[in-house]
């Protein structure tokens, strides 16, 4: 088909000077787009034909316009409903199909008049004979499609009435090119095994590629952006010699999550408003908790010890046994430190990390969900200093591409000193908080049985925040949960944190 259409076009050009694609399509009774496609295809073979785009505006009759051509205009039909002598009530006319519009147009044309003398409006003819101009014009437009015959005012009126509309058609004026031929040679689209075998490729022309087009999308699956960042953080900790803690326990006792960390039982974080408590299983059996350690924790809270005054408030076992969804992964850190203190052979230095889910019963907004991932790192060794913590953080954040760090004094119930970590954000032009850090309190460490000169330095941050900054995501729901756009996951780049 395309071959024969191509022949038709070339023959037509060889006979005349040029052709218009639209007229040509009408004449041959083929689709205009097919003609245009064939011309473009000829042009891809060299300068066989030239083309110039021509834009034409023309009026076409709408569906309602076509109805008028068949059935007459509304005003004409209404006029005919009015008897030659005597009148007809306006209400009766208006109740006819298209009665209102027909009446108003017929009145405007001064074909009809209104008589209100008897109270109710009655319509009378004002003239004997009328011609249906609207129908006539529409017929003209439909048959000739020629502009300029009818004056603009009338056309605009019909356009307002949505009886006609203006459309723009693109066509091409096609003429012979410098390489015009009736038998164009088609270049090859692809290299085939046969061409390679026969050596035919040496004498063939190949069609040029369109390098502006996109390639074929690859098949295969995609990893989730947040978890790609998690992988990078795991990598960083591993590069720095930190071992991974077993944080796979969402449900924890208040004892390990709070009490072991010397977080007072009356602390607001232990409120119903901040923490998810479990209805089922509601409590941890008391024999799950190491009894001697439990007693030491109870007394350091209520009475102090280890150089501390304690909180001087009663400590209740019931409160410690309440099961919660852990509010941080530090409960696992506490267990690991307890194990370090109580392992055969006694304490040995350790470097630990974890990245896992934690839960807060908070008010949700664009940056807060009820669950998020906490990144945590800690070093337990003899005589570590605050300077060691800052130096370590400097190295850690350097691996995230953050060079400038500074530290602000802060408060945290289980670390002292406590420091908020700030980095200079070039985009925002200010210092922004990137994490929290501190030295675990002696009231937390000594009841575990750790030697007195062992310090534990630790820090934490969320996985979501750096990920949102990295990928420019403003609403956390666009990153985590079931409402994320899968296309975002499909299109997400690999994660390199330090560039």
């Amino acid at each position: 088909m395309s071959g024969s259409l191509e022949e038709l076009i070339l023959n037509s050009l060889s006979e005349g000077l040029e052709l218009n694609t639209s007229d040509f399509a009408n004449k041959e009774g083929v689709d205009h787009q097919l003609v245009v496609g064939t011309v473009k295809s000829l042009q891809s073979l060299g300068d066989i034909v030239k083309s110039e785009q021509i834009n034409r505006r023309q009026w076409v009759v709408t569906g309602e316009g076509s109805d008028i051509i068949t059935g007459g205009s509304h005003e004409f039909n209404i006029f005919n409903k009015v008897p030659e002598t005597g009148g007809i009530p306006q209400k009766q006319l208006e109740s006819l199909p298209n009665g209102k519009i027909g009446l108003s147009k017929a009145l405007a044309n001064k074909w009809l008049r209104v008589d209100k003398s008897s109270g109710d409006a009655v319509i009378h003819r004002k003239t004997g004979e009328v011609t249906d101009d609207v129908k006539v014009i529409l017929e003209q437009l439909q048959s000739t499609s020629i502009d300029g015959v009818i004056d603009d005012k009338k056309l605009n009126d019909l356009k307002r009435r949505k009886l006609i509309k203006q459309i723009e058609t693109k066509s091409y004026s096609v003429s012979k090119g410098s390489e015009f031929t009736l038998n164009p040679v088609r270049p090859e689209t692809d290299l085939s095994p046969e061409m390679i075998a026969s050596g035919a490729w040496k004498n063939l022309r190949f069609k040029p590629y369109n390098f502006d087009a996109l390639g074929l999308p690859v098949s295969g699956g995609h990893l989730h952006p947040l978890l790609k960042v998690r992988t990078q953080f795991r990598q960083i900790f591993l590069e720095m010699g930190f071992s991974e803690m077993p944080t796979n326990a969402f449900v924890d006792s208040s004892f390990w999550n709070f009490d072991a960390l010397f977080q007072p039982q009356l602390h607001p974080a232990r409120d119903q408003h901040d923490t998810f408590f479990l209805a089922d299983p509601a409590t941890t059996p008391v024999d799950s908790l190491p009894p001697a350690y439990l007693a030491r924790v109870a007394s350091v809270h209520s009475e102090g010890g280890y150089g501390s005054l304690g909180y001087q408030s009663p400590w209740r076992l019931d409160e410690a046994r309440k099961n919660i969804l852990r509010t941080h992964t530090t409960g696992t850190s506490a267990r690991m430190l307890y194990n370090l203190a109580n392992q055969p052979g006694g304490f040995t230095p350790a470097k630990y990390f974890s990245i896992d889910r934690v839960f807060r019963n908070e008010t949700l907004d664009a940056t807060h969900l009820a669950e998020f991932h906490q990144i945590e790192g800690l070093v337990a060794d003899y005589n570590l200093t605050l300077g060691d913590l800052m130096g370590l953080l400097q190295e850690f954040f350097k691996k995230l591409g953050i060079e400038q760090l500074r530290f602000k004094p802060a408060y945290n119930p289980y670390t002292e000193p406590s420091m908020e970590v700030f980095s200079y954000h070039n985009g925002l032009g200010k210092w922004v908080e990137v994490g929290n850090s501190g030295v675990f309190r002696p009231e937390m460490l000594l009841p575990m049985g750790l030697p007195e000169d062992v310090s534990v330095i630790a820090w934490g941050l969320s996985l979501e925040r750096p990920t949102m900054i990295k990928y420019g995501i403003n609403n956390i729901r666009d990153l985590v949960g079931h409402k994320v756009d899968l296309q975002m996951i499909y299109n997400n780049p690999i994660c390199r944190l330090d560039c």
Binding site: H222, D381, T385, Y411
Partner: protein, 582 residues
């Protein structure tokens, strides 16, 4: 972290220096408080009312919103902040607080009746004499009480404060508990006297007070403080009486604090009197009150000044500096502590304002802050360790990559879901075996997921626009209840993959299982057809048996499950546990 609002001009007048916002921000940063926002009363009102034009009467003078550490009750008012900063900058020494000698031969007595123990067992008190108030001081005094109520008082549950014009009442005072109908008084700003029962009804619609009513509402007796003539001073923790209210003209103030935690009451009292004794005729002196409870007498406020001896070697070791004893002492003085250096130790005097200091490590931190965190030399700890991944997480990460390579896309769904998601929508009968949350704020967080499936199906439902097929997977933890485990519930690493298309694609999911088994090197697995697996369609589901036990299931989802998750096409899934296969 509590935030307090301070008028900038007043702050700078008190500090005797003017700062730019940036300079003040820097000073705060060094000291460990935070200039959170620079605003004005008018701006704040406009913000609260959604950006509409502020009330014309609202002040446009600049207000600093300053965030202070949650354990520093002494920084909850402008008086405290100014004093701390002036001492920090070395412009003023820390004052010494002392108990004055009462005018009368014995101190004012405040008796705690035994019946209060059933509702609010503790009370303490103190008197500020010869106070000069002005509108600013008065406002700050009220503000500090409110901050203490919210913070150390845990919204008045632990601690509630009442302040009274001492000259309007007659000591001794009694703290009692009475049935609410027997308590009748004119409450602050109320037009007439009402019984406690009536008052609680009035306050049920009071936006400020209604939050505190539940603290005592259901108690058969309510707490009340009376003077010797049976004039009521206060009905804690709700409201004071109109009769004893303080005004700008008040010179002598009686402070009562009632509590469910004695230590917190003592700290709140010390904080209030140390902060406002600066306005007394004899500054920094407080008149004691004798509190009698269960026959025991105690003099309040405690105004305890403690001494703690710290080792300079230890301080230097902890902070990572090398200061002399004298140097350490100088650093501590800037933090408002008394400090005397000896050869190897510093004897530190902790004033009653610093209830946050309970261990020498709190003093080490003050040394570090005073030295300047950012002047401390940063070092790398010498701890050398060989790192080890958690085997389960290592396996998880490796499998994730290969499942993505197999054409499946990873989802990350919530660990919490509704009871319906976990049960009815999956056609799983509720066997009460799901870890359930006691206090969820929304229905989305009723239980911890027992399966990854609801999250994946909700992801499919939210991805209607995406071209088919959808091939999704997740490897993450679910929670199962287990008697005999430490808490009664345990995490279980689960893998779930789903294929959603116009055809059910069981063979695709079966292929995922085969590939998974290939990846972890398990060859002795088989499928055992089962008709009774809840989320699946009859005859199109199987148990996965490996290493002698059932490790998971796979199949075509039941049309009702498809419908329950608002899907329209068939869907095949596999879900299995990783740990038994490691």
């Amino acid at each position: 972290m509590p935030t307090i609002n301070v008028k900038r001009d007043e702050l700078f007048r008190r500090l005797g220096t003017t700062y730019t916002d940036a300079e003040f921000d820097e000073l705060c940063f060094e000291f460990g408080i935070e200039l959170d926002e620079v605003t004005s009363e008018a701006e704040q009102i406009a913000k609260e009312h959604g950006g509409r034009a502020a009330d014309q009467s609202a002040s446009t003078s600049v207000v600093y919103k300053i965030e202070v550490p949650a354990n520093r009750y002494d920084l909850l008012c402008v008086e405290g902040i100014v004093q701390a900063i002036l001492v920090f900058l070395g412009k003023q020494p820390m004052p010494t607080y002392r108990l004055s000698t009462p005018a009368a031969p014995v101190p004012v007595t405040f008796t705690v009746a035994p019946e209060t123990s059933s509702v609010r067992p503790f009370a303490v008190g103190a008197i500020l004499r010869g106070v000069t108030l002005n509108p600013e001081r008065y406002a700050s005094f009220i503000d500090l009480q409110e901050k203490l109520h919210q913070n150390i008082g845990r919204r008045r549950t632990l601690v509630a404060i009442g302040t009274h014009d001492l000259d309007s009442v007659r000591p001794p005072f009694r703290y009692v508990a009475r049935p609410p109908d027997d308590i009748r008084f004119r409450a602050l700003n109320q037009p007439e006297a009402l019984t406690a029962t009536q008052l609680m009804r009035v306050y049920a619609t009071d936006n400020h007070l209604k939050h505190y009513l539940p603290i005592i509402l259901d108690s058969p007796v309510y707490p009340a403080i009376y003077d010797t003539d049976d004039v009521l001073l206060s009905m804690p923790p709700i409201i004071n009486s109109h009769h004893s209210r303080i005004s700008l003209a008040t010179r002598n103030i009686f402070i009562d604090i009632t509590a469910t935690d004695l230590r917190k009451a003592e700290v709140a009292l010390d904080t209030l009197v140390t902060m406002f004794s600066c306005y007394c005729e004899e500054p920094f002196s407080v008149e004691p009150v004798r509190v009698v409870r269960n026959g025991e007498e105690r003099i309040y406020p405690l105004l305890t000044t403690r001494t703690e001896s710290i080792s300079v070697e230890k301080v230097n070791k902890v902070v990572g500096i090398s200061e002399t004893p004298e140097g350490v002492a100088r650093l501590l003085e800037r933090m408002g502590l008394g400090a005397v250096a000896t050869s190897a130790t510093v004897s530190v005097t902790i004033p009653p304002t610093r209830a946050d200091i309970i261990h020498p490590c709190d003093i080490y931190e003050d040394v570090a802050i005073s030295y300047g965190f950012n002047r401390i030399h940063r070092t790398i700890p010498p701890t050398n360790k060989v790192a080890r991944q958690l085997p389960l997480n290592k396996l998880t990460d490796l499998l994730r990559m290969d499942l993505a390579a197999a054409g499946f896309t990873e989802t990350l769904t919530f660990a919490l879901c509704s009871r319906d998601d976990a049960g009815r929508r999956l056609r799983r009968p509720d066997r009460g075996d799901t870890a359930t949350i006691a206090n969820p704020k929304t229905a989305e967080f009723q239980v911890v997921r027992p399966s990854l499936l609801p999250g994946i199906l909700k992801t499919v439902a939210a991805s209607r626009k995406m071209p088919l097929p959808l091939k999704l997977f997740e490897i993450s933890d679910v929670v199962v209840r287990e008697h005999g485990s430490e808490t009664g519930a345990r995490n279980c690493r689960s893998l779930c993959a789903a294929y959603y298309n116009v055809t059910s694609g069981f063979e695709v999911i079966h292929g995922v299982l085969d590939r998974f088994m290939q990846l972890i090197g398990v060859s002795d697995y088989r499928l055992e057809g089962s008709d009774s697996l809840p989320p699946y369609f009859q005859g199109r589901s199987a148990l996965i048996r490996a290493r002698g036990r059932v490790v998971g299931t796979l199949g075509v989802l039941h049309p009702e499950v498809i419908h329950n998750f608002e899907l329209i096409n068939p869907c095949s899934v596999v879900e299995l546990e990783l740990e038994p296969l490691m």
